[in-house]
Symmetry: C2
Subunit: 285 residues, 2 copies
């Protein structure tokens, strides 16, 4: 399969918030959508909503072999295990892709261990919600969002184009191609560090009736403190070096600001604020 | 004046975002609203919008003397200077209040230097926007927001009740009474620390085309990185000790989390995430 053709069967592996959002989005576009999830309730729910055409918690070779393309929405380690266990069932010549939030620590391993007649093109949709579970699936989270493709030297131009087209079909606004390493540094900053900050802000002080004293700023900064601990702890540890580097940079910066306040260096503080204002205005749409 | 009576003349001193929002809110409620601002354009704009009944950038004794109540929406130092310069013009027996975001470093000084026949009852509405200027004034920011009154031993119960009634009239949801010191600790945490975090997150790394890689989490955490440097640097320095203490607590906490990640203490990381999730859910409305 080298193009997205409406008759294609797309298999979603992992039917949670993201997998479910892909399923709903692709179904709406006219594709036949099959799904696999270890939880039969998730499959049943998606079937009852008409979000998938068929699904199972016990995939057969035949079921997997129907797929003209596969999108993985599993946690990183499960993704690698799944491919190892089931790759023999893939139709020859298909593309497979994913939604995983870390790249360097999985992409090369997967490509090395994958059958040579199947191409894995790694992708990361920068979209989501602070809820988990297929019941919260909603393809509108992709609208106007960012999408990153992280090919290696093993990937073909055709697969990159195919993956970009998937993103466009689903409504993503900006599609960027970069290396797995660049991705991990970037995501360590814009996503993982922000989650570390939100969690730390929420846990550093215990206040009764907190909601009686907060304004929008505190609510905004802690929205993502409501966090899926299983998924995010795995993502943090699988991107450990890049994340630690970003955390160090941030801790250095806020410690600098603290010193400026301690020394009452008003002009320096204002300079920093003007820089943050300028940068925030520039990227705000 | 011991009650909010519709015929009352309320004087707003400082017609920016907050002063303007008070003016619009009070005007809608039927009060006569006068305003003073050093910028004649702000006065002219509010007059043209019908948000105030009269205004001036050069207040006379007579103009100030019309007020049955005064709300100050000035930066802290200007507030103290203004009262010192103009307090002789106040009508005897009135209440004056404010919107200042720090309390301990101004409240006692103002009360000490104020005429004994005028009562200053300190207040802090936890509301605002990341924009400044009267043109962004909007009393709907008060709807469902929090309001803190910080009386001292000098204040009467009547003044506290009067101030609470003002908050209720303007649509605030929760009104809390606490000491200036408790206020400053709380605000150091929920407001000032969050602004320090947002600024530091925005300034700690310089990335071209940043908006092509960000998701909602980064956008939420940096919304307030667009900051009024004049006002916030003054607020930070006037609440220096309390803010430094909150910054230290947060830096300690995120450094702990960094160590856990470095040491791959997955269970400890997950425990912290579950705590942050529980706390965030509890205060989320």
């Amino acid at each position: 399969m080298k193009k997205w053709i409406n008759e294609n069967v797309v298999l979603i592996v992992g039917l949670g918030l993201m997998g479910g959002s892909y399923a709903r989005g692709l179904k709406k576009l006219g594709y036949r959508v099959n799904a696999i999830d270890s939880n039969p309730d998730s499959i049943e729910y998606a079937l009852s909503q008409g979000w998938i055409d068929a699904g199972t918690d016990a995939p057969t070779k035949e079921f997997i072999g129907q797929a003209d393309a596969v999108i993985f929405a599993l946690y990183p380690k499960k993704l690698m295990e799944w491919i190892e266990q089931y790759q023999d069932a893939f139709q020859p010549g298909i593309y497979i892709s994913d939604v995983t939030g870390i790249k360097g620590s999985i992409v090369y391993d997967i490509q090395k261990n994958l059958r040579k007649d199947v191409e894995y093109i790694p992708a990361h949709p920068i979209a989501g919600r602070e809820k988990s579970g297929v019941q919260y699936a909603d393809p509108s989270v992709f609208h106007d969002a960012n999408y990153i493709i992280t090919p290696t030297e093993q990937n073909t131009k055709e697969a990159v184009r195919w993956c970009e087209q998937l993103a466009r079909l689903l409504g993503f606004r900006t599609v960027t191609v970069m290396s797995p390493e660049e991705h991990d540094e970037m995501i360590g900053y814009v996503s993982q560090l922000t989650h570390c900050i939100a969690v730390s802000l929420m846990t550093c002080k215990d206040i009764e009736h907190l909601c009686d004293y907060t304004g929008d700023s505190f609510r905004d900064l802690t929205r993502i403190a409501n966090i899926n601990d299983e998924m995010w702890s795995e993502l943090f540890l699988m991107n450990k070096e890049a994340l630690l580097c970003q955390m160090e940079g941030f801790i250095r910066e806020i410690t600098d600001l603290k010193e400026m306040i301690a020394n009452e260096e008003k002009e320096e503080i204002r300079k920093k604020m003007r820089l943050s204002t300028k940068r925030r205005e520039a990227f705000d749409r």
